[in-house]
């Protein structure tokens, strides 16, 4: 393949304008291909075609979502921007958390690969998001993994879940990053479309922030990390079979698997190597290699810089023999990074890489033109304006239409579903709900993740949000939670996205941290379906408007389309991640009760009869219809202020937010996590079923020491936050008593809560 006759050079392309090219197989539309020809004034070479086709894919170009995502920027005010050091468009968002510290965080999806090859799909999903964080100049400090699978008892769920959990753990544990949270949701819509979203948090000093720019004519472009192989080439392998000389030599690779295999050890070493490079101050620009490999890294770096770039592609260290330039450009081999370095610093750069046994190769140079020129053994195989590859891809205004069944769905409310009426029925329902797969303890999963490594994990699962200490001296730290209820989003994507935001925001505040910024991962069906585009548009609007109301900016995110089976899309799933800051992690609020005996249990917020999309309707009736709970963001903000103030003044000894499963679930978890009993009394004259299982938003259960009760409730009253005294912590009891309903032994509850996942998956 390396013989010159087979190479499709720019000269060859110019002289063979009519040669047919497999652009359709590469996913390009007729008009997109024509646009490439117009940009170049000729047909693209095979390498250029490979580059444009991956970079103009939905995944890389955001061509269907771009027009909507703009709304995030448009709805962010100057005030919201105040603490944002980098936002949408960079590898990851960065916020200033005070004391000279900056924190970067982001969520990404690796959904499809995790269905094909669950272990490697999940592992490389974690690897990819970690490199994004590294590319900002930060040390990655924690990961989270929001996961969604098909029905818990479906045979394929077992295969996918086993692989995904082992992959997240196998990669993250070996990398030395504590896993401090995530989600685990089962719903039939995710069968065949599991969602593997991975989030990472990184920390750095404000002055160490690095952006992906290739600037400074004469600066060197260095590729470092793993060798480049044939992994993940998937679509581009059609180029290998499309023989320019009529030779069949490429046919052996026609069906390359589009799977990448991760090597967490190499990534761990790469992290330490990068951090040492940053410390020495010898990196001008840095970019990770993720989807679209070198195509993406070279064009994005060049496009964001102030000049052009020349790349000697044949210098790239390879793992396979006979790779074509197009393959080298498209390979998604993992654990690679690209840096821009001044000539004077190249030696120092190489020395540090050698210390860590990291392969580093100077493969290019920043030039003073505005072209990205790539040569292969001195022949020009790519000569393009980089912006046209990286930033000026196609933009679609996809048709949007409210789904035809939306009204019927909303009209079919849960009001007529049979409800428990006797105490016995309620008792049974509590146990049934607690042991249902979505509400059961996630311990079977989280026990496979290292939550301790690096010794800064202040809160990890089970907790409302994970919390990590950033500064050992001052105790400053951050908290993060990701949330989304896809059923709510199906009923009303605008409100559903706001409910996801509200829940993540509340989860962060519940641990005593002040919510600061937002990231998201938009998991949806096909953008070519107008109904899906409507869901997407509504969710973006809802999230953006919600962030504006709460005064915290969206700093980044990710879009994953085409999550569907046939014509059926997954539940719209805009996973929202909220990051909060806490000035002193020792004042964190734990989830479990019982640190102090005799605490009063207070329920903050209002309970309404809200069962549309609830876990109860799902578990007991397999029903989805009606309206989701109302969202009141002013209330969420007030609740957060009260929780943070309560934490600051030492008035709260435990807190747990109410979400899926309502009060019953929250109380049970507070007892089990704290290994302590309680007595609960529901408001007089209220309907116990509604009190226990409604999923009204804006509520938190708090445990307050007797001595602080008056001060705390007076604060709530003064600020206008409804509260109700609903119980006491009872360490002696060994049981949870819900007055006039039932008493549960803690052992009985634990068995119900913790038995489910092992029974399903061991």
């Amino acid at each position: 393949m390396t013989t010159t006759e087979l190479i499709d050079t720019v000269g060859h392309a110019e002289s063979t304008p009519e040669q047919a090219q497999p652009y359709r197989e590469l996913g390009l539309k007729d008009d997109e291909y024509q646009r490439i020809r117009d940009i170049l004034g000729r047909r693209p070479t095979a390498a250029e075609l490979a580059m444009y086709s991956v970079m103009w894919s939905e995944h890389c170009s955001y061509k269907s979502s771009k027009v909507h995502l703009r709304y995030f920027g448009e709805s962010t005010t100057e005030e919201m921007r105040a603490k944002m050091l980098a936002g949408i468009g960079e590898n990851a968002g960065v916020v200033d958390i005070g004391d000279g510290w900056a924190v970067t965080f982001k969520v990404e999806s690796h959904n499809h690969p995790s269905y094909i090859e669950p272990y490697q799909g999940a592992a490389t999903g974690v690897g990819g998001i970690v490199r994004d964080i590294m590319a900002m100049g930060a040390r990655p400090v924690a990961v989270l993994d929001p996961l969604r699978f098909g029905p818990a008892d479906a045979p394929d769920t077992r295969r996918v879940l086993h692989g995904v959990v082992a992959g997240v753990g196998g990669y993250g544990n070996c990398l030395g990053l504590p896993n401090i949270g995530g989600e685990l949701v089962f719903d039939p819509s995710y069968a065949g479309n599991p969602l593997l979203n991975a989030a990472c948090i990184g920390a750095m000093r404000v002055e160490d922030l690095h952006l992906a720019h290739a600037s400074g004519t004469g600066n060197k472009v260095i590729l470092f990390g793993a060798r480049t192989g044939l992994d993940g080439i998937g679509g581009v392998s059609v180029l290998a079979s499309d023989t320019f000389s009529g030779d069949e030599s490429g046919s052996g690779r026609k069906k390359l698997p589009s799977v990448q295999v991760g090597d967490p050890f190499t990534e761990k070493v790469l992290i330490e190597c990068c951090l040492e490079l940053y410390r020495e101050g010898i990196v001008v620009g840095i970019q990770d290699l993720g989807g679209a490999g070198l195509s993406c890294a070279t064009s994005e770096l060049a496009s964001a810089g102030d000049g052009g770039m020349h790349v000697w592609l044949d210098r790239v260290p390879l793992r396979a023999t006979g790779m074509s330039p197009a393959e080298v450009l498209s390979s998604e081999s993992q654990e690679r990074m690209m840096a821009v370095v001044t000539p004077a610093n190249v030696d120092a750069f190489m020395r540090i890489c050698a210390k860590w046994d990291v392969i580093a190769t100077e493969i290019g140079e920043v030039t003073d033109g505005d072209r990205l020129v790539i040569t292969w053994h001195d022949q020009v195989v790519v000569d393009v304006p980089p912006r046209t590859v990286a930033h000026e891809g196609p933009v679609y205004h996809r048709p949007i239409e409210r789904p035809a069944d939306q009204d019927a769905l909303r009209a079919n409310g849960p009001e007529s579903l049979a409800r428990p009426s006797t105490p016995d029925e309620l008792r049974e329902l509590v146990l049934r709900m607690v042991s249902s797969p979505n509400l059961a303890s996630k311990r079977w999963v989280t026990e496979q993740y290292d939550r301790y490594v690096r010794g800064n994990s202040v809160l990890a699962q089970p907790a409302d949000s994970g919390m990590i200490r950033i500064d050992e001296r001052t105790g400053r730290g951050v908290a993060m939670s990701t949330d989304c209820n896809g059923r709510f989003c199906r009923l009303d994507p605008y409100t559903g996205a706001q409910l996801a935001l509200a829940e993540a925001y509340r989860n962060v505040a519940t641990t005593g941290a002040t919510p600061l910024a937002v990231t998201n991962c938009m998991n949806f069906g096909s953008p070519e379906d107008p109904a899906v585009m409507w869901q997407f548009e509504q969710a973006v609007k809802g999230l953006a408007d919600g962030c504006r109301e709460l005064g915290i900016p969206v700093t980044g995110g990710n879009v994953s389309f085409y999550n569907q089976t046939g014509s059926t899309a997954i539940l719209p799933t805009p996973v929202v991640g909220v990051l909060g800051v806490i000035d002193d992690v020792t004042r964190r609020i734990p989830t479990g009760i019982g640190a102090e005996a005799g605490d009063t249990l207070l329920l903050l917020g209002d309970t309404h009869e809200e069962f549309g999309g609830s876990e109860w309707a799902h578990v007991v009736h397999g029903h989805l219809g009606g309206l989701p709970p109302k969202v009141d963001l002013d209330r969420e903000r007030l609740l957060a202020e009260v929780l943070v103030a309560g934490s600051r003044d030492g008035m709260i000894s435990a807190a747990h937010d109410l979400s899926d499963g309502g009060l019953a679930q929250a109380v049970v978890e507070s007892c089990l996590i704290g290994e302590t009993g309680a007595r609960v009394f529901l408001p007089e004259g209220s309907d116990p079923f509604v009190q226990l299982f409604s999923e009204s938003a804006g509520r938190v259960l708090v445990a307050v020491p007797r001595s602080e009760e008056l001060r705390f409730t007076e604060m709530c009253t003064a600020r206008g936050l409804p509260w109700a005294r609903i119980g006491v912590v009872d360490p002696e009891a060994g049981s949870l008593e819900i007055q006039d309903v039932a008493t549960f032994g803690l052992d009985e509850l634990r068995e119900a809560w913790e038995g489910t996942l092992p029974a399903l998956f061991d």
Binding site: I116, E117, Q120, A226, G229, L230, D231, R253, L256, P257, V259, Q260, V261, G262, D263, F265, T266, R319, A320, S333, Q334, D357
Partner: protein
């Protein structure tokens, strides 16, 4: 009873971090002349004579190996 051996190897184009780790370590341990190393799995099964080759092939393909990333070979050996 027959003894059956199944060897499962990462496909040639697939990254093999395990084999690579061994290959990189050998020179450091003072062993030279080893070009490449690939590491896979080796299974030894005791099998009833009633189990035919098609069944063995199926077991290997659906269970012992992951066809997306691995190749495998099934051999009956005398015991």
């Amino acid at each position: 009873m027959a003894r059956v051996v199944v060897d499962v190897m990462p496909k040639p184009e697939i990254l093999d971090p395990q084999g690579q780790a061994v290959a990189n370590a050998l020179p450091r341990l003072g062993f030279s002349g080893i070009g490449s190393v690939r590491q896979g799995k080796h299974f030894e099964l005791e099998v009833d004579d009633s189990v035919d080759d098609a069944t063995l092939a199926k077991i290997a393909e659906t269970f012992l190996a992951n066809p997306v990333v691995e190749d495998w070979v099934v051999r009956r050996v005398e015991s």
